[in-house]
Assembly symmetry: C2
Homo-oligomer: 205 residues x 2
């Protein structure tokens, strides 16, 4: 039986996780399985909450960028956005600080079992990583082969290498799984944090 | 007469500023005035674009967090968000990397002329700065007295000092302008970048 833990910040306010509460019929026997039916984004957010609460790192997902066109302000209730559009993000989704270093990464899932298609990344995300690397940041991709239940940390410099060779005469449009097995750092599933990806980052610093 | 400059990234794609294009009747004689009728947010975004294009720093504003409830997917056109609500941000608005250091700050404007009311900041923003400071980040507030047309960089440690003394028996709910003049670093308005706030950051590193 796993007891819920209330973490108190130094200022005395309760720690409220961003994730919705577990439903009443939540089956704790599921909790130790890698994945637990969560998306990679949920796994990272949970891990980031753990890292924040334990003062290990401060890393957040950026909100989804939205172009707001029309907002209603009803009396006695919250403003309602009535027309808005999704905008293309100009950066990666995650950044923050760990061991005094700037951390910047993006997370991608693929159902492929032998290769990671490079079109999962967008040009502006790769360019953003290139810019951050030049400034001395720790940049990488967290890439999950969901069918294989395998998660890898791929250094941005390796990702950029594969990205740039797409333009070559015999350039590949994907990174083979074998390359992950040789070049990338495997990330294990655990209980706390869900994915200990900063252990993999330690190998980069 | 100021000519528009097209900046080309190494990959050959054009640099597209996030700001809307200047209107056709845009008066270049206005351009050298501090403020130029821009909000502090616009001034910072313009400066960040300059710093990015010149490979000085990679600092972005985070998107406004929105809870999306209902999305329409019309045929042959972009998805439209039809119901969404503003969420309280869990961090400051700006972060990134400069000279290998993690940078994290928030920007606030006040029309007051003698003091900066502390309720411009929210508890979670101050707590976020406290967390980032513990990790070795460079954290601060950019605070503009719009009526005085004065802009200051206030170190997060000073901000936190004033924040925490609010609970004291004779605690103040604001920071006097004199404290900015003594403790904070003034930020000058220029042409490029609009506000050279990283010059002030250099004094913190």
């Amino acid at each position: 039986m796993i007891q819920p833990v209330t973490i108190h910040y130094p200022n005395g306010t309760s720690y409220r996780p961003q994730q919705p509460e577990k439903p009443a019929n939540y089956n704790s026997s599921l909790i130790r399985h890698g994945g637990r039916g969560m998306t990679l984004e949920q796994e990272i957010n949970e891990s980031n909450q753990y890292y924040l609460a334990h003062e290990i790192a401060v890393i957040h997902k950026k909100p989804t960028p939205v172009q707001i066109v029309k907002v209603d302000y009803p009396k006695r209730s919250a403003a309602v956005i009535r027309e808005a559009y999704f905008r293309r993000p100009s950066t990666t989704d995650y950044n923050g600080i760990y061991r005094g270093r700037y951390i910047d990464f993006d997370a991608k899932e693929t159902k492929e079992t032998t290769r990671f298609p490079l079109d999962n990344f967008h040009e502006h995300q790769v360019e953003h990583m290139r810019s951050c690397l030049k400034q001395g940041g720790i940049c990488f991709g967290l890439i999950k082969f969901v069918t294989l239940d395998q998660l890898y940390l791929l250094k941005a410099s390796d990702l950029i290498h594969y990205w740039d060779q797409q333009g070559d005469p015999h350039g590949r449009k994907s990174i083979p799984l074998a390359a992950f097995q040789q070049q990338a750092i495997p990330v294990a599933y655990r209980l706390n944090p869900t994915i200990a990806y900063l252990d993999a980052v330690d190998q980069l610093i």
